[in-house]
C-alpha cells in the first residue's frame, strides 16, 4: 500500500510541476463548456426565406405574414426568376424558397384546397427536416384560420362539419425546451473523457519513450500496484474536472438537479475507472506517444459519435446500436441525463451503473495483464 502511495505522489508531483499541462487540462474543459454549450442546438431561428408570390392577393400576403410573424423565418428576398432562385440556393443566400402559385386564393375559395411549393436547401440534413416541419406547421395553422374566416362557395348545403381535430401536444421532462439542460451534461462527459483518456493513454508510453519505465520495472512493485498508481492520480484529477463542470452547469446554465447527486457521483466514479483503465490499456499496447495519441483519438471519436450525445442512438443501424451497448459514454450520459433532468432513481440507472462497473473491472484486468515488466 505504501508503495502505491509513493508512486501516486510521484505522479501528482510530475503533473503539478508541469504548469502548461495543468493550465491546459483545467482551462480547456471550462472554456469549451462555457462556449460550446451554446452551439449544440437545432433550434433554427429566422431561417432565410425567399418568397415568390405570383398570386398577390390578401390571402397569399397573409401567408407570407404568418411565415414572417413567428421567429422561424425571415424573408430576405421577394420575387426572383427561376435562375435567381437557383443561384440564391447555391450560394446559400437563402435556405428555403416558398412559391405561391397564381390562383392560390381562388383555389382556396372554390376548392378549399391549394398547394404551395416549398424548395429547401437540403445540404444540412437534419436541419432541413426541421425547417420543413416548421413551415408545415405554419401552413396548417393558417389553413385552420382560413377555414373559419374565408367565405365558401360550395358548402352551403348543410353538410355536417367534420369532427374538429384537437391535437394537444405535451413535452415531458423539459417543458422550457432548454436544450442546454440536455447538452451540458453530455458536453461535461465528453470533455472529461477526452482529457482523462488522453492523459492516461500518453502516460506509460511516455515513460517508455524516455526510458524511465525500465527503472520502474526493476523495482519490486507488482503489476497491480503499478496500474493502480497510474490510475489514482488521474482519477482524482478527472473527478475535479467533472465537479467543476457540474458547478458551471448549475450556476451558469442552471441545469436542474432533480435526482440524487450521490447517484451522479457513484456513476462518475465507476465511469472514470472504465475510461482511465482504457487509456492505460492503450498505453500498454502502443510503443510511441504518437501511436498512443492516434489510437486514443480513434477511441474517443467512436465514444462520442456513437454514444448518442449529439445524434439519437435509435436512428443508428442495428449493428451500431449493438456496438453502442458496449460504449461507456452512452451509459454514463444516459445516467447523467436521467438523474439530473428526469430525476430518475436507482431502479432506472442501477443497471447501467452495474454495467459500467463490470466494464471497469474487465478493462483494468486487461491492462494489468497486458502490462509487461520485462521489455523485449
Amino acid at each position: 500500500m505504501r508503495t502505491v502511495w509513493f508512486l501516486v505522489r510521484k505522479e501528482f508531483l510530475q503533473i503539478l510541476r508541469d504548469h502548461t499541462t495543468m493550465v491546459q487540462i483545467f482551462m480547456i474543459p471550462v472554456v469549451q463548456l462555457l462556449v460550446l454549450a451554446n452551439a449544440a442546438t437545432f433550434d433554427l431561428k429566422r431561417t432565410r426565406l425567399l418568397v415568390v408570390d405570383e398570386d398577390r392577393t390578401t390571402v397569399s400576403a397573409g401567408l407570407v405574414q404568418r411565415l414572417e410573424g413567428g421567429r422561424q423565418f425571415r424573408v430576405v428576398r421577394e420575387d426572383a426568376s427561376a435562375n435567381e432562385v437557383e443561384k440564391a440556393l447555391l450560394e446559400r443566400e437563402v435556405t428555403a424558397v416558398i412559391h405561391i402559385p397564381r390562383r392560390f386564393e381562388e383555389d382556396l375559395v372554390q376548392h378549399r384546397h391549394a398547394t404551395v411549393q416549398l424548395v429547401l436547401n437540403a445540404e444540412e440534413g437534419a436541419a432541413t427536416g426541421i425547417v420543413q416541419s416548421n413551415a408545415n406547421a405554419i401552413l396548417a395553422a393558417y389553413a385552420a384560420e382560413l377555414n373559419l374566416t374565408l367565405p365558401t362557395v360550395r358548402n352551403a348545403s348543410g353538410v355536417t362539419h367534420p369532427a374538429p381535430l384537437d391535437l394537444r401536444t405535451q413535452r415531458r421532462f423539459n417543458p422550457t425546451r432548454n436544450y442546454k439542460h440536455y447538452m451540458v451534461p453530455a458536453l461535461m462527459v465528453a470533455l472529461t473523457t477526452i482529457i482523462g483518456l488522453l492523459l492516461t493513454a500518453q502516460n506509460i508510453t511516455r515513460e517508455y519513450e524516455i526510458g524511465t519505465l525500465e527503472q520502474l520495472n526493476v523495482t519490486p512493485m507488482t503489476k497491480i500496484q503499478f496500474i493502480a498508481a497510474k490510475l489514482i492520480p488521474f482519477w482524482i484529477i478527472s473527478l475535479v474536472i467533472f465537479t467543476i463542470g457540474l458547478v458551471i452547469g448549475r450556476l451558469v446554465f442552471g441545469i436542474p438537479m432533480r435526482g440524487s447527486l450521490v447517484l451522479v457521483y457513484l456513476a462518475a466514479i465507476v465511469y472514470l475507472i472504465v475510461v482511465l483503465g482504457l487509456g492505460l490499456w492503450i498505453s500498454t499496447i502502443t510503443r510511441t506517444q504518437q501511436q498512443a495519441m492516434f489510437v486514443a483519438f480513434f477511441v474517443i471519436l467512436i465514444f462520442l459519435l456513437m454514444g448518442g450525445l449529439f445524434t439519437p442512438v435509435e436512428s443508428m443501424p442495428d449493428w451500431a446500436q449493438l456496438v453502442a451497448q458496449a460504449n461507456p459514454v452512452k451509459h454514463f450520459v444516459f445516467v447523467m441525463r436521467a438523474v439530473l433532468v428526469k430525476g430518475a432513481g436507482l431502479d432506472t440507472v442501477g443497471r447501467p451503473i452495474l454495467g459500467l462497473a463490470i466494464g471497469g473491472f474487465a478493462i483494468l484486468t486487461l491492462a494489468v495483464h497486458r502490462y509487461r515488466k520485462t521489455t523485449a
Binding site: Q117, L120, L198, Q290, S315
Partner: protein, 367 residues
C-alpha cells in the same frame, strides 16, 4: 536546396521505418469515415412510440397501421391505458406516446371534437421537436383522410429538397467527416513530430545545422503532406464506392481544395508545436483543444444558423467550417470556384497566417 532535400529524405525515412505508426496514420481516416458513415445518422428514425387506444375500432386500426408502416416510428405496443407510460418514459424505453379517446369512429361520424394527446420525451429538445413534428404530420394526414369528404380547408406544401432529395444522412455526414478527421489528424501529426524532436533533444542539433529554421519545418511537413493526401484519396474512394456520395463538381477542384486544406491543418500543427514544450502539451492542445470546437462549430453536426450571433462570429476562425462548405459545395451541390472563391481565399489566408506565425515563433527560439 540539396541540404533541404537531404532533410526531407531523413524525415521520410523516419516515417517509413516506423511501419506501425505509418499504418495508423494512413488507414485511420478511411476507417473512421467507413465506420461513422455507416453508424451515425443525423436524422431521426425508428422512434419508439406507444399508442394508447382504449377501444380499438376501424379508424384507430388505420392509424395504428400507418404508424407501424412508417420508417420514422417503431410502434412498440398498443396499450389499453396510460398506466405504465410514466415508467416507460422515465426509463427511456419509449420516446413518444399517442393517447386516443374512446369512440374515435363514432366521434368522426357525428362530428364531435376529437381530443388526441401527443406526449413527447422533450429531454432532448432538438430531437423532441423533430419527433413532435413527425407524429403531428402522421395524425393530421390520418385525420384528413378519415373525415368524410374534405370540408376542412387545406393548404398543402409540395416540398422539393434540393441537392439531397432523400435526405440521405451519409451524403452529408461523410463530407463533414472528411473535414473533421483531416483537421485533427493533420494538426496532430506535425505538432507531435516537431515536439518530439524538442523532447528528445534533437531539435537543438537541427537548429545549429546550416539549414534555416523555416526549411526545417518545411522538411518536416513535406512527408506528412504526401501521407495526408494519400489518406484523403482513400477517404474519397470510400465515399464514392461505399456510400455513393455524389461528386457533382469538378474532381480536380476537390483534390486541389483538399491539398490546400491539408496545408492549413499542418500549418496549424506547426503553430501548436512552436507553443508546446512537450508532446503531452502539444497533443492536449491538438486533440482536446481542437476536437470539440471543430465538431460543434463547423456545421458538421449542428447547423451554424442556429448559433447565437456572437458564437457564429467565433465560428469564423474555425478552419474546418470553411472547408466543410467547400467540400459539400463541390460534392453535393456541384458548385465551382465561381461560388466558392471566398471560402478558398479565407483558407489561403489562414494558411499563410499560420505559416508566418509558426516560422516567427521558431526563429525567436533560436535567438
Amino acid at each position: 536546396m540539396k541540404a533541404f532535400l537531404g532533410f526531407v529524405r531523413k524525415e521520410t525515412l523516419h516515417l517509413l521505418r516506423d511501419r506501425q505508426t505509418l499504418a495508423i496514420l494512413l488507414l485511420l481516416p478511411p476507417l473512421q469515415v467507413l465506420i461513422f458513415g455507416f453508424a451515425v445518422r443525423t436524422d431521426v428514425r425508428k422512434i419508439p412510440i406507444v399508442l394508447v387506444d382504449p377501444a380499438p375500432d376501424v379508424a384507430t386500426l388505420e392509424l395504428r397501421d400507418r404508424l407501424a408502416a412508417s420508417e420514422r416510428f417503431r410502434l412498440l405496443a398498443v396499450a389499453p391505458s396510460t398506466q405504465v407510460l410514466d415508467a416507460q418514459f422515465r426509463s427511456g424505453s419509449i420516446r413518444q406516446a399517442l393517447v386516443l379517446p374512446r369512440d374515435v369512429e363514432r366521434r368522426l361520424g357525428r362530428g364531435d371534437s376529437l381530443p388526441i394527446q401527443l406526449l413527447t420525451d422533450g429531454s432532448d429538445p432538438n430531437t423532441g421537436g423533430i419527433m413532435q413534428g413527425y407524429a403531428t404530420a402522421v395524425v393530421q394526414r390520418w385525420y384528413t383522410d378519415a373525415v368524410p369528404s374534405g370540408n376542412g380547408l387545406r393548404i398543402d406544401a409540395s416540398s422539393r429538397l434540393r441537392y439531397n432529395p432523400t435526405l440521405e444522412s451519409s451524403h452529408l455526414f461523410v463530407p463533414g467527416l472528411v473535414a473533421f478527421v483531416l483537421t485533427i489528424m493533420s494538426a496532430m501529426m506535425t505538432a507531435i513530430s516537431i515536439t518530439r524532436e524538442k523532447e528528445t533533444g534533437t531539435m537543438e542539433m537541427l537548429l545549429v545545422s546550416p539549414i534555416r529554421p523555416s526549411a526545417i519545418v518545411a522538411g518536416k511537413v513535406t512527408p506528412y503532406v504526401v501521407l495526408a493526401f494519400v489518406s484523403v484519396l482513400l477517404v474519397l474512394i470510400a465515399a464514392r464506392t461505399v456510400f455513393q456520395v455524389p461528386q457533382r463538381g469538378s474532381l480536380a477542384l476537390l483534390l486541389g481544395e483538399c491539398g490546400l486544406y491539408i496545408l492549413t491543418a499542418l500549418a496549424l500543427g506547426i503553430v501548436i508545436s512552436t507553443q508546446a514544450p512537450t508532446q503531452r502539451t502539444a497533443m492536449i492542445f491538438a486533440l482536446a483543444g481542437l476536437m470539440m470546437p471543430t465538431m460543434l462549430l463547423s456545421g458538421f453536426i449542428f447547423p451554424l444558423d442556429s448559433l447565437p450571433v456572437w458564437l457564429r462570429a467565433i465560428s469564423n476562425v474555425v478552419p474546418a467550417r470553411w472547408f466543410l462548405l467547400i467540400v459539400r459545395g463541390i460534392m453535393i451541390k456541384g458548385a465551382g470556384l465561381a461560388t466558392l472563391w471566398q471560402e478558398t481565399l479565407i483558407l489561403v489566408g489562414m494558411t499563410a497566417f499560420f505559416l508566418i506565425v509558426g516560422s516567427r515563433k521558431l526563429a525567436i527560439r533560436l535567438g
